[in-house]
C-alpha cells in the first residue's frame, strides 16, 4: 500500500519540520511537557504511597496473625467490640497445644499507661508487653543491641526487659549502651538486655513505644486475670491461609462458639490492613488519573493547534506533492509523525526535568524527616516507558484531525494557496 521510500520520506519530513521551527515546536510541546510531568510526579507519589502502605502494613510481619479482641485496622466500631469477651489464658493454652500448622504461638499481654524511671527521670505512657521468649522470632524481635530474654529467664520470672526503639532513643542520652543498665518499670527494678530496631514508619510509630518483659514475669506481677491478651501466631514457612483457618477453628472451639455464631475476636494481619485502605487507595489513584487526564487534554489542544498551523503553512507543498503522485496516506503519515515526534520530544524533556526535581525533592524530604523512606529518588523504569508511550499516543490522536484535513486537500485547491 505504501512504499518504503514514501514512508521514510514522510518521517524525515516530519523531523525536518520540527527542527526547522525549534521555538514553535518547543512551545507546542510545552503542553505535553506539563501533562507528562504531572503523570510522572503523580506516578512517583502514588508509588511512594503504595510503598509507605506496604512498609506500614508489613510491620507486624507478613507471616504473622494476631488474634485479638480488638480490630487493629479500626474498621469496626469500638462499640461493637468493647463487649466482646477478653481472650483468656485458656484460649492461649488451647491454641498453643493444638495448633499444628503454625511455627510459633506467642501470647502477648498489654499494660498500657505504664511508667519508667531511669537515672532519676520518670516517663509515662509506655506500653508494657509481656511475651514469651519466642517473640524473638517475630519482627518484634529484631534487635539492634543486646539479646532477647531466654526461655529460662521466662520460666524463672526474671526481671529483664527489651526496649522498643523510641524508648531507647529517649533514654540513651550520652550513654554508649543501655545494656545491663537498671530501669524501674512501674516501680519495680528491671535489667535492660536488648533493644528492638526501629519498626515504625512515620504513620505508625507508637509501635516503638513498647517495652517487652517475659510472660511469666508479667503474670507473676500482675496476675493472669488482666485484660489485653492477644495471641501472635507465626506461620513461618507454612501456608498463611492454612494457619489462619486452623487458628480460627481452634479459637472458636476454645470459646465454645456455635457454628451459626460470628467470630467474637478479630484476626489482625497485613492483609487486613491492606484491604482496609484499598478503597482509599483506589480513590487516590482515581483522583490522580483524573488530574493527569485533564492536563493531557490541555496538552492535546496545544498540539492540535500547532498541527493545524503546520498544515496550513505547507498547503502549497502538499499540493505539489500530491500533483506529483503522493497519496492521501502519505500525507496523513507525514503529519501524524510530526505530531508524534513533538510529543516524544515533550516526553523526553519531561523525563529529564522530573528526574532532577524528584532527586532534589527526595533529598530535601529525607533531610527534613529521615523516617520517610518510602519515596524513591528515581523515576521507576516502567513509569518512564508508560509516560513516553502515552505521550506519543496522545500526540497522534491530537494530530489526527489536522492530518486528515491535510490528506484530504485536493491538489488543485492546494496549489492555488499562496
Amino acid at each position: 500500500m505504501l512504499k518504503f521510500s514514501e514512508l521514510s520520506e514522510s518521517i524525515i519530513l516530519a523531523f525536518d519540520s520540527i527542527i526547522g521551527n525549534k521555538i514553535r515546536s518547543l512551545l507546542a510541546s510545552l503542553g505535553v511537557v506539563v501533562g507528562i510531568s504531572v503523570v510522572i510526579m503523580m506516578g512517583w507519589a502514588l508509588n511512594g504511597l503504595d510503598e509507605a502502605l506496604n512498609q506500614t502494613f508489613s510491620i507486624i510481619g507478613n507471616d504473622m496473625i494476631y488474634l485479638d479482641k480488638w480490630d487493629w485496622t479500626g474498621g469496626k466500631k469500638w462499640n461493637t467490640l468493647k463487649d466482646r469477651r477478653d481472650i483468656t489464658q485458656e484460649n492461649v493454652d488451647f491454641v498453643t497445644n493444638n495448633i499444628k500448622s503454625a511455627e510459633y504461638v506467642i501470647p502477648n499481654i498489654n499494660k498500657w499507661g505504664s511508667s519508667l524511671d531511669f537515672k532519676g527521670i520518670n516517663y509515662k505512657g509506655i506500653s508494657l508487653v509481656g511475651v514469651t521468649s519466642d517473640n524473638a522470632y517475630t519482627p518484634a524481635g529484631d534487635l539492634i543491641d543486646g539479646r532477647y530474654f531466654s526461655q529460662l529467664e521466662d520460666k524463672n520470672n526474671e526481671n529483664v526487659v527489651v526496649l522498643g526503639f523510641k524508648v531507647y532513643e529517649t533514654l540513651i542520652g550520652d550513654n554508649k549502651t543501655l545494656i545491663d543498665e537498671e530501669i524501674k518499670i512501674n516501680g519495680r527494678k528491671f535489667t535492660i538486655v536488648g533493644v528492638v530496631k526501629k519498626r515504625g514508619t512515620f504513620i505508625f510509630d507508637m509501635i516503638d513505644n513498647q517495652i517487652f518483659i517475659p510472660y511469666n514475669t508479667y503474670v507473676g506481677i500482675y496476675g493472669k486475670r488482666t485484660k489485653g491478651i492477644s495471641i501472635g501466631i507465626k506461620a513461618g514457612n507454612n501456608n498463611l491461609d492454612l494457619v489462619r483457618d486452623e487458628a480460627i477453628g481452634l479459637m472458636r472451639a476454645s470459646r465454645n462458639l456455635k457454628p451459626y455464631e460470628d467470630d467474637d475476636f478479630s484476626i489482625n494481619e497485613t492483609k487486613a490492613f491492606q484491604d482496609s485502605v484499598e478503597t482509599i487507595r483506589v480513590s487516590v489513584w482515581g483522583a490522580g488519573i483524573a488530574m493527569t487526564a485533564l492536563s493531557f487534554l490541555v496538552g492535546m489542544i496545544g498540539i492540535s493547534n500547532i498541527m493545524f498551523v503546520s498544515v496550513t503553512e505547507r498547503t502549497k507543498e502538499i499540493g505539489i506533492r500530491k500533483a506529483i503522485g503522493a497519496k492521501k496516506v502519505t500525507v496523513l503519515i507525514q503529519f501524524l509523525s510530526e505530531a508524534g515526534f513533538l510529543c516524544l520530544v515533550g516526553a523526553i524533556i519531561s523525563l529529564i526535568f522530573c528526574s532532577i526535581v524528584i532527586y532534589i525533592l527526595n533529598f530535601v524530604i529525607i533531610k527534613f524527616n529521615p523516617s520517610i523512606t518510602f519515596l524513591s529518588p528515581f523515576i521507576p523504569l516502567n513509569l518512564m516507558f508508560i509516560s513516553t508511550f502515552i505521550s506519543v499516543a496522545v500526540g497522534v490522536i491530537a494530530g489526527l484531525a489536522p492530518a486528515i484535513k491535510a490528506s484530504r486537500l485536493t491538489p488543485i485547491e492546494a496549489l492555488r494557496y499562496d
Binding site: K3, F4, S5, E6, E9, D16, G20, K316, E317, G319, I320, R321, K322, A323, I324, G325, A326, K327, K328, T330, T410, P411, I412, L415
Partner: protein
C-alpha cells in the same frame, strides 16, 4: 477538422501529417481520448459550467497547444487531462483505461507515472535541492535511494543543469528553475508532458530557451501538451486547439509552426 499539408519549409525537418479523425491508424498510439466531458460547479443555487463539452484525442508524439482566453475552460480542461480533477460527465480514456471512474489513489499513481507537470510558477519545493526536487516523483514511485540519485542526476544533465544540482531553488534563476521543473516532469518517463504557461514567469530570452527545450523533447519522441493564452507560445506547437466559453472552437494543425 482541417487536414493540411505543409511541404514548404525552410528547415530540414519534414512534417508528419496526422489524420486526427482516423483513430484506427495502426502506426499511431493513442494516449488521450476524451468524449463529451463537462465540468460543473454549484455555487449556492447557481450552476457554473467551467467546461460545457469537449471531445478530442491526442496521440503519441503530438505537440499540442490548448489556447483560450481567461474563462474559456482551458485550465479546467488541463486539470482534467492531468488527472488532477475528474469530469462531471463524459469519459476520459488514458491509454485505453477509463480514468474518469478511478479513485484518488489510482489517479495519484497515474499522475506520478504517466504525467509530467510543468507549472507557470515552477512549484518546486523551496527547502530541497534541485536534485531532491527531481527525485520526488521517483520517491513516490517507490524507487530506492541509490537508483533515484542516478536517474535524477542523468535527467538534470539532460536539461543542462548537472553543475547546479545541489542548489536550492532560491539560488537558481527563473530559467534554471523551470529546467529543474522540466527534469522533474521527465524523470519517471511519462506518457505526456503537460505544461501550463511554462514561460509565463520568464523573460522573453529565457522563454525562448525553454521553448527550444520543449522542441528538443518533442523531437526525442515525447508527447507535449501546452496550455497558454499567448499566440506566440502556442505557435511553437504543431496542433492548436482553441477553447471559448467552455467549448472547443477549433482543433487544427498549425500551418506555420515556429521552428528552431
Amino acid at each position: 477538422m482541417n487536414i493540411d499539408n505543409n511541404i514548404n519549409t525552410n528547415n530540414s525537418q519534414s512534417e508528419v501529417i496526422i489524420d486526427v479523425n482516423n483513430k484506427k491508424d495502426k502506426t499511431v498510439e493513442n494516449i488521450i481520448d476524451i468524449q463529451d466531458i463537462s465540468k460543473l460547479y454549484t455555487m449556492g443555487t447557481e450552476i457554473i459550467y467551467a467546461l460545457k463539452s469537449a471531445t478530442l484525442q491526442i496521440n503519441k508524439n503530438e505537440y499540442v497547444a490548448i489556447m483560450g482566453p481567461s474563462g474559456s475552460g482551458k485550465s479546467t480542461l488541463m486539470n482534467i487531462l492531468g488527472c488532477l480533477d475528474t469530469p462531471t460527465t463524459g469519459h476520459y480514456y488514458f491509454k485505453d483505461e477509463n480514468v474518469s471512474i478511478m479513485d484518488d489513489n489510482e489517479l495519484s499513481t497515474i499522475r506520478n507515472k504517466e504525467i509530467g507537470f510543468v507549472f507557470q510558477t515552477f512549484n518546486l519545493l523551496s527547502r530541497s535541492s534541485a536534485l531532491k526536487n527531481v527525485e520526488l516523483p521517483l520517491i513516490y514511485a517507490g524507487i530506492k535511494s541509490s537508483e533515484r540519485q542516478i536517474i535524477a542526476k542523468n535527467t538534470l544533465k539532460s536539461v543542462g543543469l548537472e553543475d547546479r544540482m545541489n542548489h536550492k531553488p532560491n539560488e537558481l534563476s527563473g530559467g534554471q528553475r523551470q529546467r529543474v521543473a522540466i527534469a522533474r516532469a521527465l524523470v519517471n518517463n511519462p506518457s505526456i508532458i503537460l505544461a501550463d504557461e511554462p514561460t509565463g514567469n520568464l523573460d522573453s530570452k529565457t522563454g525562448l530557451e525553454i521553448m527550444k527545450l520543449f522542441s528538443d523533447l518533442w523531437l526525442e519522441g515525447n508527447t507535449i501538451i501546452l496550455v497558454t493564452h499567448e499566440e506566440e507560445i502556442a505557435n511553437y506547437a504543431r496542433r492548436i486547439i482553441r477553447l471559448k466559453d467552455g467549448l472547443i472552437e477549433s482543433d487544427t494543425l498549425n500551418p506555420n509552426p515556429v521552428l528552431f
